[in-house]
């Protein structure tokens, strides 16, 4: 008996040891590509580093963030362009994720009903998701073209607008153009996640509701929504965090326009175009901190269980 128990714990020890051996290569690579660059970026945020001379940097404390110099405040925290980028990012995230959730819900509910050709429709909605972001930005850039775009053509044809709109260039519509393309591209992702949540729901309460003659809209709000809430919350968090770091779509569709500049676009512009590695790193560090705080909040509030038992 004791011999068996002894060899069992021996086996456990051997397994734990091999687990660490298996983990080591992955951890080294992750430390190299994520940990180290992140630490260096945060370090650069406190220096006056310049892209042309990264080795020759001086530590300047919080001056990139905020500095009082000869009666004036300088730094990221008093830079109107930075705050503009922050508000653009928040506005983009809130509006696009809200629209994607509502539309994704509609698509998911539709796909959850039985009809002929359901498989084809599901395949069709995967197409926007599969198209590379840069390609969808270019595709839409062409459809939204001010002179030759098909969208202006159609809208003028059916009489909604009387003159062509410069969707991506005009300050009033640029952000809406970005949101429209993002909604087009990401709604399928939301729909599929919600659909996965819908498909594991028990069918008996729906049958009961049907027998009792309860209106489907009421069933949706009283039964479906509460039941898929956990899946929905996770999908929302993933999408929200993803939207906060948006870069590609905006860089290609509206480039450096002030109306659509987000935190990532701003940080890269400082870093690469203006070569201000110190200042740009300060902006990246701020974005990282914002997302880190949100992740920690979600993980604690959402009680995401990670340490659950191994089967």
């Amino acid at each position: 008996m004791s011999v068996a128990a002894g060899s069992a714990s021996e086996l456990t020890r051997a397994r734990v040891r091999s687990a660490w051996i298996f983990l080591t290569p992955m951890m080294i690579v992750l430390a190299l590509v994520a940990g180290w660059p992140l630490i260096r970026t945060i370090y650069f945020a406190f220096t006056d580093a310049n892209l042309s001379a990264l080795d020759d940097t001086r530590f300047i404390g919080f001056a990139n963030f905020l500095e009082y110099y000869e009666g004036e405040w300088y730094g990221l925290l008093v830079d109107p362009d930075w705050w503009n980028a922050v508000w653009n990012t928040i506005w983009f995230t809130v509006v696009s994720v809200a629209l994607e959730t509502v539309l994704g819900m509609i698509v998911a509910l539709t796909l959850n009903t039985a009809f002929k050709g359901r498989g084809y429709l599901r395949a069709a909605i995967l197409i926007p998701w599969a198209i590379p972001t840069i390609v969808s930005a270019k595709m839409w850039g062409w459809m939204l073209h001010d002179q030759f775009g098909i969208l202006n053509e159609i809208l003028i044809g059916i009489g909604i607008i009387s003159a062509p709109i410069a969707w991506t260039a005009s300050p009033d519509t640029a952000m809406w153009a970005v949101i429209m393309v993002d909604v087009w591209k990401t709604t399928p992702f939301m729909a599929l996640l919600i659909l996965a949540g819908l498909q594991i729901l028990p069918t008996d309460c729906y049958e009961a509701a049907k027998v009792d003659g309860i209106h489907p809209v009421k069933v949706f709000f009283k039964v479906t929504l509460p039941l898929i809430r956990p899946a929905l919350v996770v999908a929302l968090i993933f999408r929200g965090l993803d939207a906060l770091r948006i870069f590609d779509l905006i860089y290609v569709l509206t480039s450096n326009s002030r109306e659509t500049m987000t935190m990532s676009v701003y940080a890269r512009q400082q870093l690469v175009d203006f070569q201000e590695v110190g200042y740009g790193s300060a902006a990246s560090t701020m974005l990282f901190m914002i997302i880190a705080v949100l992740v920690v909040l979600t993980l604690t509030v959402g009680k995401v269980r990670l340490g659950e038992e191994v089967k």
Partner: protein, 277 residues
Amino acid sequence: MSVQRLVGKVAFWALLIAIAIFAVFPFYYAILSSFRSGSELFTASILPDHFDFRNYVSVFTEQPFGRNILNSVVVAFTVVAISLFLGLTAAYALGRVQFTGRGLLLLTILSVSMFPQVAVLSGMFELIRTLGIYNSLPGLILANLILTLPFTVWVLTTFMRELPKELEEAAYVDGASPWTVVSKIFMPLMWPAMVTTGLLAFIAAWNEFLFALTFTLSAQQRTVPVAIALLSGASQFELPWGNIMAASVIVTVPVVILVLIFQRRIVSGLTAGAVKG
């Protein structure tokens, strides 16, 4: 009641058609445009009326687009291979063995997949320059790992957890080494999960833009997304839309076909990556 039902049915089918058009039309229109060149491009008709392959020829002759495709293929395949190998061994440890620090490790990996890419941009730039791989494919492979590795580990761990416990016990009792257990028992069982994860990682690497834009300099070293984004024509003021659409169709069609073939697997991989979190 029957009139009401008919109206409901018509509304439902209208909704289905609206969803289908919304999903498919932009890509359909890109394909149409890619076959129009010169002034035909500016007709804005939604019906296929021209089949002119000139754009498909000029996109390869006016810039090293063939080379760009090759770059993307090399980068994406290498990144996927490295991620899958490291991911599988790590997933075995994280999914099958109970040890202290496991929860924290999983948390760290999940957090890294939430990183804004721009947060590592300057540090990665410095690293890549120090290693002497700026403006080269190894630099892009290194940078892309931050996108694919955490995700691969996470998804493979969720799949690994679901396999029955008895599988490895018998092997251990027979004195098999942990490496044998992973390579002989789990590897064959994990194939479907690895195909799914590999495909999703491939798409992520294939689409990556920010690193490829920042860490390459010459047109020869660009990957496909950067090449398309920076495609320019003879005139600086008018973009060569026909060429851009042709390039877009060339790089999108293989991905769309792959996704449609593996659609069930992809959906299960996506939900494993997110919902089960």
